[in-house]
């Protein structure tokens, strides 16, 4: 049962239950969480092959490459975000539950972020080193991805919720959320580039943090509304 003791369950408990439930289902199918990371690895490998192995050129392009690939892999995560829950009727149950749909959706997005974005931020230094990014820029890479993947996934969740009822919504999803994610790409890659040149990293990270907080507050409301609309379609 999804809601065993609604009488004394608070909003926070509902969030936690939903988070754990979704986390368990992610653990049950680890390939869903691992695929975006593998995709990241694969595409990062393609760049030296396409551009040539010149270390100077790669180091110069590394911030942009890593951030663009992070953006694309977040697109992959967003495409799967609500798909299985929508198909098996869980979203309908969430909409009927005596809790705001926005909060329950946020719990799902959080679980997904922990399994994908967070892991990506932690493993990114490895890919940074492979592309010849200087060691002193790696903390900025991790910090910018840590904040940035939250924005990417929260904005992606809005697009995912809007397109989940559409068959073959994948291409449409990229049209909807890539333009919205461009500021995140700009701030994130700027933070890493500044770190390479010993510039002012913190101001770009502050912008990313501001976007992450704003997305954390606003995006769940849009996701909740969008999921209800998708149920009508």
């Amino acid at each position: 049962m999804l809601w065993p003791d609604t009488a004394d369950a608070s909003l926070w408990r509902a969030f936690r239950r939903q988070f754990v439930r979704h986390g368990k289902s992610l653990l049950a199918t680890p390939s869903d969480a691992a695929n975006p990371l593998l995709f990241f690895f694969m595409v990062v490998t393609l760049f030296p092959i396409g551009l040539g192995p010149d270390p100077d050129l790669l180091a110069k392009m590394a911030p942009g490459i890593l951030w663009v690939v992070a953006l694309l892999s977040s697109l992959m995560v967003s495409a799967k975000l609500f798909a299985s829950d929508f198909e098996d009727g869980s979203v309908e149950q969430m909409a009927l539950a005596p809790y705001p749909l926005a909060v329950l959706a946020l719990a799902e997005v959080s679980a997904h972020w922990l399994a994908t974005g967070f892991v990506l931020a932690l493993t990114a230094p490895l890919f940074g080193i492979m592309l010849g990014l200087p060691i002193h820029a790696l903390p900025a890479l991790v910090a910018s991805l840590f904040l940035g993947t939250q924005c990417l996934l929260l904005i992606g969740a809005v697009g995912s919720a809007l397109t989940v009822s559409i068959r073959r919504g994948g291409l449409l999803l990229s049209l909807l959320i890539l333009p919205l994610n461009i500021p995140v790409l700009i701030f994130g890659s700027a933070a890493v580039s500044e770190a390479v040149q010993h510039g002012n990293v913190l101001s770009w990270l502050a912008l990313l943090a501001a976007m992450a907080l704003a997305a954390l507050v606003l995006a769940p409301l849009a996701v909740g509304a969008a999921l209800r609309i998708s149920l009508d379609n």
Binding site: L162, I166, G169, L172, I182, L218, A225, D232, N233
Partner: protein
């Protein structure tokens, strides 16, 4: 006042009202466009540095200004339809999306044509051009999302949510002029303080901007009427209205 707003929710009333309204609006718009074009293209003096090539400003700037404002109009109509469930508001929202997309495309193309003699390149990745391109994608997203939904009532709501989320991006588009290095001249029309362009060039530009706003209104109204005719093609009030006209 209230009865006017209630009437706005009624398709038959709106169809009749917009019919009389556009009979006045359309001639005024065409008149302003013709006057502005003649004034800007023939009478205004040539620029001392760019010569006559600057005259594309009389198409480029109005299209860009109205394309940006159009997104707000669309998002506002979307918010009205989400909050008060006024039917005409979501018809207005989806009528505005393709018009805005076309205006954005016009601004991009004229910008490229202007860029060739001025900067020596058709396309430069400068802040404002990139922002307009993003705006173009945002418009296309709304149009494509509406087309993809089977239930058109749900589609209108989904587009309203999307356009509200998109408005978050518009301030960043404006801000980006300050944030990124820009090849453009600094924004030269300000409504407070002295303007950097001469009055003889500015007045036709302002006339063209107003004309483009009117043009936007005409296009959206005509689009809405076409939408209404299609949606109510079976109903008797429409047959009466068409028979009378």
């Amino acid at each position: 006042m209230w009865s006017f707003i209630h009437k706005l929710g009624s398709p038959p009333w709106f169809y009749r009202f917009s019919g009389t309204f556009i009979r006045w609006l359309l001639p005024i718009t065409v008149g302003m466009l013709v006057c502005g074009a003649i004034w800007g293209l023939l009478i205004a003096p040539p620029d001392f540095r760019q010569g006559n090539s600057y005259r594309i400003i009389y198409i480029h700037v109005p299209a860009a200004v109205v394309a940006l404002a159009g997104y707000y109009v669309m998002a506002f109509a979307g918010a009205v339809s989400l909050i008060w469930r006024i039917k005409m508001a979501d018809v207005a929202m989806r009528a505005a999306a393709p018009v805005g997309a076309v205006l954005t495309a016009v601004a991009l193309v004229t910008g490229a044509i202007w860029g060739k003699p001025t900067w020596g390149a058709w396309w430069v990745w400068d802040a404002r051009i990139t922002s307009m391109l993003i705006l173009f994608f945002l418009y296309l997203g709304v149009v494509a999302l509406f087309e993809a939904y089977e239930n058109k009532a749900a589609a209108a709501k989904a587009c309203a949510v999307l356009s509200l989320v998109g408005t978050v991006n518009i301030p960043i588009i404006y801000k980006s002029v300050d944030w990124w290095y820009s090849l453009h001249q600094p924004a030269s029309i300000k409504f407070t303080g002295e303007s950097a362009i001469d009055a003889s060039m500015l007045y036709p530009l302002l006339l063209m901007i107003v004309a483009f706003y009117f043009l936007f209104a005409c296009a959206v109204l005509l689009n809405m009427r076409a939408e209404l005719v299609w949606a109510h093609r079976q109903s008797s009030w429409l047959r009466q209205a068409l028979g009378a006209a």
